[in-house]
């Protein structure tokens, strides 16, 4: 009930002299829409061009991964999580592996920890590259998408060489990583960093500095820090509002406590702030990679674990920072080989919930831009 009254009061504020029967248009955006990057279904109530209400409908690719994992062993369920947030598949796997390790109380070798962090940061850059291109495409600029893919493909090639796959690498096993890094890995990563440094100013030329882009982004979709926390936002969405929430800083895992990096914070809270956070985050990821790439410690890449893993009875929660925000893996074990219940706290789900709040009163074009800045990956939301 209170939602409807709230909408009415908001609508009254924006257009005070408007009668109630003035044409409200209910439009379905998605599941088959060019801007939703997947099968998100939004029901939008429009007044002219102004949005009065946005209501997400989910479930078009819900596979019930949580239920599936209940019948998979601790080695097997990790790979399924690649299919949640497929753009940061590696970080999903990492969170799961860390959670299992927490239960097993296995010490991961230093080398494996560093490799994990390196891969995670490469994944983060790849994810942000794709987001950058798709974001520009949402605003009607096509060219940046292809330029972003040039760098992204380089990362994917590096992944392919070491992990054997480009997107859902399945490189993680409880206790370390599946294979040692490829002999060419270090050199290729260094080449990539060089390429990235050479091309990064083009991003600003093409998109960031563009006056049309800035006007589209600045001052729309404003999300305050309190709202961001209250809505459970995390990752770049919350950091764009000035809410400090980087899991890598506050709850460091793997080798993150050994590297120096800044948590990127913007205080604008609008679409442009969220955009800047991601662009600057790529730079921080590059810094992390640079610190680690020459300092990969020697040793095992995998700790010795039993063939059949059994977690002790108890509950284990692990947080990890994916490209979209804080991923939580919550395992409840009854002592068997499979988890009793598993819960994935996906960042996208909480980030999506804020869309209706920030989109109210904006134009339909802004909604698309906001969806871009929230960086929605639908399988992550639907799980």
């Amino acid at each position: 009930m209170y939602r409807e009254t709230e909408i009415l009061t908001r609508a009254n504020q924006s257009t005070a002299h408007e009668s109630e029967d003035s044409g409200d248009l209910v439009i379905n955006v998605g599941p088959q829409h060019p801007a939703t990057h997947g099968v998100l279904h939004l029901v939008i109530t429009l007044n002219g061009e102004t949005i009065k209400n946005v209501e997400p409908h989910l479930g078009y690719i819900h596979r019930s991964i949580e239920k599936m994992c209940e019948s998979l062993t601790y080695r097997q369920f990790i790979y399924v999580t690649s299919r949640m947030d497929y753009l940061s598949a590696h970080i999903n796997n990492q969170a799961c592996a860390l959670c299992v390790e927490k239960g097993l109380q296995v010490e991961v070798p230093q080398r494996a920890q560093v490799i994990r962090v390196l891969m995670a940061e490469l994944t983060r850059i790849a994810s942000h590259e794709l987001w950058w291109g798709a974001m520009a495409m949402d605003l009607g600029a096509f060219t940046p998408f292809f330029h972003a893919f040039r760098e992204r493909e380089t990362i994917n090639d590096i992944m392919e060489e070491t992990c054997g796959a480009r997107l859902t690498m399945n490189y993680m096993v409880p206790g370390g990583v599946m294979m040692d890094i490829h002999p060419h890995f270090q050199q290729r990563v260094k080449d990539f960093i060089q390429l990235y440094r050479k091309k990064i100013h083009e991003y600003d030329e093409l998109v960031t500095g563009n006056i049309i882009f800035q006007n589209r982004m600045k001052g729309v979709g404003i999300l305050s820090a309190e709202d961001a926390i209250s809505y459970g936002c995390s990752g770049p969405v919350a950091r764009g509002s000035g809410a400090s929430c980087d899991t890598r800083k506050y709850y460091p895992y793997d080798a993150y406590n050994k590297v120096q990096f800044d948590e990127v914070l913007e205080t604008g809270g609008d679409s442009f702030a969220r955009y800047l956070v991601r662009v600057r985050e790529m730079q921080q990821s590059i810094n992390i990679i640079e610190q680690l790439i020459d300092n990969i410690p020697e040793g095992d890449f995998q700790a010795k674990t039993k063939a059949v893993l059994k977690l002790p009875k108890g509950e284990f929660y692990q947080r990890a920072e994916t490209a979209r925000g804080e991923l939580g893996v919550y395992i409840i074990s009854e002592g068997g080989t499979t988890p009793y219940r598993i819960k994935f706290r996906s960042p996208g789900f909480s980030n999506l919930s804020v869309l209706g709040h920030i989109a109210r009163g904006c134009k339909i074009g802004d909604l698309i831009a906001m969806m871009g800045t929230l960086d929605l990956v639908i399988p992550d939301i639907d799980r």
Binding site: M1, Y2, R3, P56, H57, L58, G59, H62, S64, E66, K67, S71, E226, D227, I229, S230, Y231, G232, C233, S234, A243, S244, C245, Y250, G314, E315, F316, Y317, R319, E326, G328, Y330, I332, Y340, R341, K343, R345, F349, S350, L352, S353, H357, D382
Partner: protein
């Protein structure tokens, strides 16, 4: 605030609380009737200030359901886990969406996956399941779907 201090503070607020040992964070079990007032305290008390509900879920223990709230404070950086037992046949609990807005979506998910009824929830409708879904709740342990579930 450390777990010990939190424990003391919580037992001051709610003397009937039972604490679960083990786990990295403080685990507390409370009654469903205490929840709304307790939640207000957790959110608004200056020294607790749990403003970030980062995980809300439910567990089906076959005999009962347990709501699990993972709370964190962005100011003090401490965490706490709250568990509330619910009756399995008629699960009902007061909504937390007035305190943490993120609960609105998460509770809708729990509503359809476990069938927990959230009292005073502003918009308790199906979110993920298709419209007109009737029958059992998918994440309960006794859910069977012979068509779509493949047993290995």
């Amino acid at each position: 605030m450390l777990n010990e201090a939190l424990k003391q503070k919580v037992s001051e607020l709610l003397p009937t609380t039972a604490f679960d040992e083990g786990g990295e964070w403080l685990n507390i079990n409370i009654e469903a009737t205490d929840w709304p007032a307790f939640a207000q305290h957790l959110r608004n008390d200056g020294s607790l200030f749990f403003d970030y509900l980062f995980c809300l879920t439910c567990v089906d223990w076959k005999t009962h359901l347990t709501m699990v709230y993972h709370l964190s404070s962005t100011k003090h950086r401490h965490n706490m886990v709250i568990k509330i037992k619910l009756d399995r046949d008629k699960p009902e609990i007061e909504t937390a969406s007035g305190i943490w807005r993120t609960a609105e979506f998460h509770e809708r998910e729990v509503f359809e996956m476990f069938g927990v009824n959230f009292i005073n929830h502003p918009d308790l409708r199906l979110l993920i399941l298709p419209d007109g879904w009737e029958g059992k709740n998918p994440l309960r342990k006794d859910f069977e779907d012979p068509v779509n579930m493949i047993k290995l």
